[in-house]
Amino acid sequence: MKLLTHNMLTSHVKGVTKGYPLLIKATEVKVNEVEFNPQFVCRMIPKLEWSALVKAADDLGHRQDLPAELEPDYEKNEDLLKKVHRALLEVEVVEGSLQCPESGREFPISKGIPNMLLNEDEV
């Protein structure tokens, strides 16, 4: 699971109102090399929840000094873009789980894939 995916995922356990962002509990993380496309990263940034990304990267030890707040003119900051690229697309949680911040329910991540299925009683 890349942090891009994590940035989008939320807990959908019944009754939960504060299910975002999910807490990452990783037991295996890897870093892949992905071709850097500054334009793509630029376009993605406005769609992200910046603080959730920073926290997730931080939790995994890959924050790389991403600022707590996104500065304006980030488009021109190639250094920043590269760091965002790395955090979003290169860092991958292979094994672990995602935890609902409100209910504590854990969703397993196995072989890089989060399984978000709920049981019948949780829907």
């Binding site: 891009l4 793509f40 769609k47 969703f107 894939i113």
Partner: protein
Amino acid sequence: MTTAIICQPQHYVFHPDNATGRTMDPVNNVTPMRKSKEEKKVFRKQLKSSHTLLKHEGIRTAQQPTKSLVVANGGLGNGVSREELCAALNEMGEVETLLMPPHKPYAFVTYRSQESAQKAHFHLNGGKLMCGENGVTLYLSFIDSVSHEEESVFAPLPDGLLLVEDFVSAEEEVQLMAAIDWSSSNDEVIGACVFDTENINQLSQKALKHRRVKHFGFEFRYDNNNVDKDEPLPAGLPDVCLPLLERCIKDGYIDIMPDQLTVNQYQSGQGIPPHVDTHSAFEDTLLSLSLGARTVMEFRHPDGRVVPVVLPGRSLLVMKGESRYLWTHGITPRKFDMVPVCDLKSSTHSGHDLETNGSLTLSKRGTRTSFTFRKIRPEPCRCAFPSACDSQGPPAPLPPSPPALPSCPSDAARLEQEFVHQVYDAIAYHFSSTRHSPWPRVCHFLSTLTPGSVLVDVGCGNGKYLGVNPEITAVGCDRSSALVQICADRGFNAFVSDALSVPLRTASCDACISIAVIHHLSTQERRLAAVRELVRLLKPGGRALIYVWAFEQEHNKQKSKYLKDHNGKQNLIKNTSEGSQEPCEYPSKCSDGACTPTDYMPVTDGKLSVHTNRTAFNTQDLLVPWHLKEGKRQEEKVSEDTGKNKRKSNKASVNSCLSSSESPQSDSSPSVDCSLSRSGTNTSKTTHSLGSNPLSSDGNTHPSKLETSPAPVFHRFYHVFQQGELEQLCAQVSQVKVLRSYHDQGNWCVILLKEELH
């Protein structure tokens, strides 16, 4: 690792894969090898085969050379015979043992010396073994030890069954066969189809899919599996049969002269489903004379015991008592049978000799003609087996009742679990290999998205659409972990979730697609809920594209590819089951895959019927078969994948889904042919690489798990949509506008807009 060199001993031909462009060195009979590329390829495949063996069969390969090897793809399950494999192995050194577990796609060989084993490994690994006209690529790995557990292949014959070999002479055999005039046989009765005149002509040219039958004395009726006792046939039994019948009486096999004869002729690949001859129709003893080629008949007891019985040519099978009244008998449609080795060597051995050599080998089928003599029973049956008797006791157990449409959410969830989710998990790799071409109109939709858009593909399957537009951020979700795994393998962002509850925030997506998904939901409420969920995910101003399978496969007088590929005809094919059972709605639950596709009936009582692939739909809620097969052919529908992108045709390779002009019936002829080999163009999905028995993900979701392993059939639930139905569904969701609605290759499609709030 090396590729095999070409050598030409008598029994087999060995040559490396992709041998084009090579020249032979005539002196050494060796072809110089293009080392690195070939070597690497063989090594990779061998490694994968090792992994698969370990993962699926628990076979652990050794790191260092030993005396024993596992020969992947060299098994009875691949259609490789003992003789062919032995020939290749013996060339390498003295073979101590060769173990070929039945139905498995591998074999174990132990050599006298480690040197011989190493020689075998060097020469044979990655090489092709020819069996008949086809070849399999063998991958050898050293193993630490082989446990010699020969399976017992000899079971005692059912009570009351007697096999008499050499009952007629070769001359009599010729006379008997000659006495049958097939030109007047009523071929259409068996596996009947309702034809228009066009088709009758077509039929007479093609080989018939079913065995030929002729009756004498009394007509046997397949609609009620009984005899019309009031209408004897004028001719009576042929005179040529009398001498042998008199011999039967004289030898004490039967007390009374039979008055009914049924002659069946089976080509290789034909059979007859398991059945008990109707008690009320015939007296106790049945005599069945086998002429022509040998076959294997399987007897099945209600408690599950299965006894295969080899029936040599010119043998007489006498069925009495329990074997006649209680055990079913049938012949699986196949081209090869597995028979004990001793049976091949000597025709005077019965199949049930308790010899220590329990080895099996393959026996190719030929044409067999059986003469079954019976005595009409004038009065009701009073046998000792009322459970199977139509005259006494309760009626025979009905086939398991098919699922009904769900009446509550948990029923719906259960139905979908069994007929959607479990199926996709079981067929994932095969399914994925047939879903390789993104559809043009879906691609068009994706191309209209602004760069940087966030797209979610709900029900993304193998991720076919996730990479189409590289300018957008695409995330997929699917209910099947196996399919999501394929997405991950391809580098896409995907997670496992249900379409009814997608773990993404409301209004977080610029666009959604849901292609061929919501037709798997079994109630209208759930289908509506799925549409609502898609809309929830959309930002105001965002768009969704939905595709569902259409009830109307023909649109604007154009047939969809799904229909067109079925001989270009849109016939309603009505099949009665082959010979003896009531039409069952569940071919997969019959004792073996020999049942032909059944009648499909309109849903009058809420029960789901099984659809015959590539024909028009006549009901909206149905179960569609998926025939899980290894290798090339694939008789599955293509309406989900008809936008075949010609530029990507190289990816289609072995598993083209448009290859089939086969009719669905051919699916019920499973064969352990040698034609299952890859012929060198092994596609990357090496879960297919080990021969005929699909080592599918967990191996335990086959509904038709059998002794004889024909291709498993799965059923998926579909609710196919009528014209306008999808739009109506969307109209029930607020804040939604249907921008466009169209028909695309057998699907109804809508593009929705989530309106901005005012």
